[in-house]
Symmetry: C2
Subunit: 282 residues, 2 copies
């Protein structure tokens, strides 16, 4: 597959890691960055994630592929402007919500040049310094509503994700946002709330620091995630997240009721039911 | 330090991993197991975790140190019987709750031979097949009420945990159970409840399987934990767990209220507050 000139808009954790992978796998004939934060821009070049940082307009004009890796609220306002300016380019995004974004460009004359994707990988860290090699490998990437995208654009995007080791799933944006609420967004809410719980109850930071075991760390690590990324995700996926959050609170209330009533048989049943997750997650 | 003949009562994840470490670090002049589950007993010998499996009485009589690694409800009934039979031996336990256990032997004539400990390490798996090398290293171990234990016993126990790479903390049983509710027990409840939430809402197992990313896996992995270990922990630490669970539900309700009222400024504050956990947990 022919190498493309690639522009990464937002050179943080996701954009920076994508840049590393696309270079490594020989997909890129040069990668330029667009980055609003001057410190991140400097760092992205220093780390060799991108060759240089340009204005959005320059980057679009010089590139064959434009990849948007910015918070989903900014994406929704930026994507139509990018489509306004492109001629032949392929545009894709790596956002965690899809329905509002796709809606924002559904009648755009260049809609066909845009491919909506969600590579299901991330860490709790952010910024170009958080970018890592071999990111995305063996994870899923979701392509949404790809029938609305031009064939050549879909073909290149699929091939790029395939090259960096991801397995492809296709679904419509509505289904994506629903599933993402279940398998990603709710985990972040529980983790944020767990951190707040422990910070509220455990006034001795030192005790948390000294006693915290792997189990605590793994349930709470997502609580380090960046609010400027996550608030917009929760805004855009509000109804699905509320639905699953209500269910989660009611599941927690069952544990509470078991303990209050000392109903340990039912407590055991609840835990046995939860154990079924091991049939799905290795 | 002189090698001791060691008996491990309950050769599962914890007992088996301890056996591996004590052998590796040259603390043991032979390790025998006591194991109620015949399949686990067979496996423990096959895997070389213990030299042989004996009855409790035989194991006590032949050993210098007896380590109890069984669910905390069984521990509470077994510990007094072990203390009844010993002559010179050191007895310790690795249970996740401490107050009821210590209470159960507080007037026992051999109380001094018993050292109450909680090595803060585990995984979501159980049984001798889950035992791993290098377990416990760089984690904390809590010694509780050690002033009630004989000096020679405390000295050996500290030295053994030190040799396997753990850092020692001392606190009274009451404080231990409170802190353990915050930094360990609540994580398990949130994980069990999250698994039940997703299993309830997401009827398509395949979608979870394909889409689940590292974030979901890390928040839900503890949901694989064994109910026969965890129900007794929640029973024995019921009041502390209820207290922190109530706080956790009220923290989740704040996220819910933010979404319902579309109060995204407060949502951002909640997430920023949660981010403070990164000052404590690397």
């Amino acid at each position: 597959m022919e190498r493309k000139r690639i522009a990464i808009v937002g050179v943080g954790l996701i954009g920076g890691s994508l840049a590393l992978q696309l270079n490594e796998k020989g997909m890129a004939a040069g990668i330029v960055g667009v980055e609003a934060n001057p410190e991140h821009a400097k760092k992205a070049v220093e780390l060799g994630l991108v060759d240089e940082v340009l204005s959005l307009e320059q980057a679009i004009d010089q590139s064959d592929v434009i990849i948007l890796c910015i918070p989903v609220d900014k994406m929704t306002s930026l994507l139509p402007k990018v489509l306004d300016r492109i001629t032949h380019q392929i545009v894709l995004d790596a956002g965690s919500t899809k329905e509002q974004l796709i809606d924002a460009v559904k009648n755009h004359p260049n809609r066909g040049r845009y491919v909506a994707t969600h590579p299901m990988w991330g860490t709790e860290y952010s910024g170009p310094g958080a970018a890592i090699k071999q990111a995305f490998e063996n994870k899923a990437v979701v392509l949404c509503n790809s029938a609305d995208s031009d064939e050549d654009a879909v073909k290149w995007v699929k091939s790029a994700y395939h090259k960096i080791g991801m397995h492809l799933l296709e679904m419509d944006a509505h289904a994506h946002d629903l599933h993402a609420a279940y398998v990603s967004h709710i985990s972040h809410i529980t983790s944020f709330a767990l951190a707040n719980t422990v910070l509220e109850k455990e006034r001795e930071d030192q005790a948390i620091f000294e006693l915290a075991s792997g189990g605590f760390e793994s349930t709470v690590r997502l609580a380090k995630s960046n609010p400027s990324m996550w608030v917009p995700i929760f805004m855009q996926n509000r109804e699905n997240v509320l639905d699953v959050l209500n269910e989660h609170i009611s599941q927690l209330r069952k544990f509470k009721a078991c303990l209050e009533k000392e109903n340990y048989e039912y407590l055991e049943e609840l835990i046995q039911n939860a154990n079924r997750i091991s049939r799905i997650i290795k």
